[in-house]
Amino acid sequence: MSERYSRQELFAPIGEDGQIQIRKASIFILGAGALGSSGAEMLVRAGVGRVTIVDRDIIEWTNLHRQQLYTEQDVIEQLPKAVAAEKRLTAINSDVAVTGIVVDVTQQNVLDLMTGHDLVLDATDNIETRLLANDAALKLGIPFFMGACVGSYGLTFPIGIQDNQPCLHCILETLPSQTLTCDTVGVISPIVVTTAARQVADVLKYITRIPFEPKLESADLWTGDRASIGVASMKKAGCPSCSENAVYPFLSARESMKTAVLCGRDTVQLSWPTSRKFELIPFAESIRGSVSKLIHNPHLVACEYNGHRIVLFRDGRMLVHGTKDVVTARNIAARLLG
């Protein structure tokens, strides 16, 4: 098997020494959807030592056009993504210790899950979890390779690469009331692969100890737009997530989403922290094409989505009717709100 990585070792910046570093690397992949599939496959083929991949979701037909680890049979068997991912990744490279964990990553479990890994690859589908992972990675002192994409557009930002660089919390001055998601504006697979490729290139540079400047970068494969912004000046001296006196607010209960199953009502209530402001009319407009029976008034937006009645209140609460499962409800919220 010694020639397995020969073409990668022949690439001079990596070389045999780089391959040894790659082999030692232990990677945490947050999400086994599109970016997670693509990034995990590249890293496993590259021959990293260990991969832990976590996801709360099961595989659906609507995933197959872009989530490259999965097959029709996985949908028919209703397999959790983490389970199918572990199986496929192990089949690709049995040298790698792959662990798939079916779990909803929250402030209660994020540190336990990430501990023991050298870095975190972002493949989540919503900004709440990204900020949670940003705090967790900063607290553990490991880098977090952010990536996100919808439509034909994607962005990447490696965090924790240099001492004096801003974190995700520094550059998000205010929390978005909602972000575009793959379930509201769609997505094409080329941007998934491009975004994951940029993340993994940065990961390989990091684990083979090649210095590089962490930049916020974006690409739109449909319009040809591209941007690369050196955001070093956005480092905030008093950032609650990355300054010397960091309190990691997204790891504390106050800044995290709260969930409650409303007894006897077959309904889950999700409550966001007060720092997240909701603008009802832009939200209603953004989901118009994805939902039915849309109603909005100054107090709430209501609609039907995938057989669930959804109500978002102005004060940052969402009711998801037709389920007692918190994970299902959080999933729907992530799809509509990002």
């Binding site: 999400g31 997670g36 972002d122 493949a123 919503n126 962005l155 575009l180 941007a227």
Partner: protein
């Protein structure tokens, strides 16, 4: 006067009604989004979005999205 800028690496003819950065964000339907704007290599603070855009300015805009 016709203004042609470089926007995210591409040539972009400024619509006549767009005068400043805030109006450009509105025109691009990014006003409601979380964005980072760089103008002629400097990152703009939110309170500088009323800066007028001139011919041959170089602007890069990155907006945050949820998916993955």
């Amino acid at each position: 006067m016709k203004r042609t800028i470089e926007l995210n690496g591409n040539r972009y003819d400024m619509p006549a009604e767009v005068g400043n950065v805030q109006e450009l964000l509105g025109h691009l339907e990014l006003a409601e989004r979380i964005v980072i704007v760089e103008m002629n290599r400097d990152i703009l603070a939110k309170d500088a979005y009323d800066l007028p855009i001139n011919d041959r300015d170089q602007i890069e805009i990155i907006h945050f999205v949820g998916g993955g």
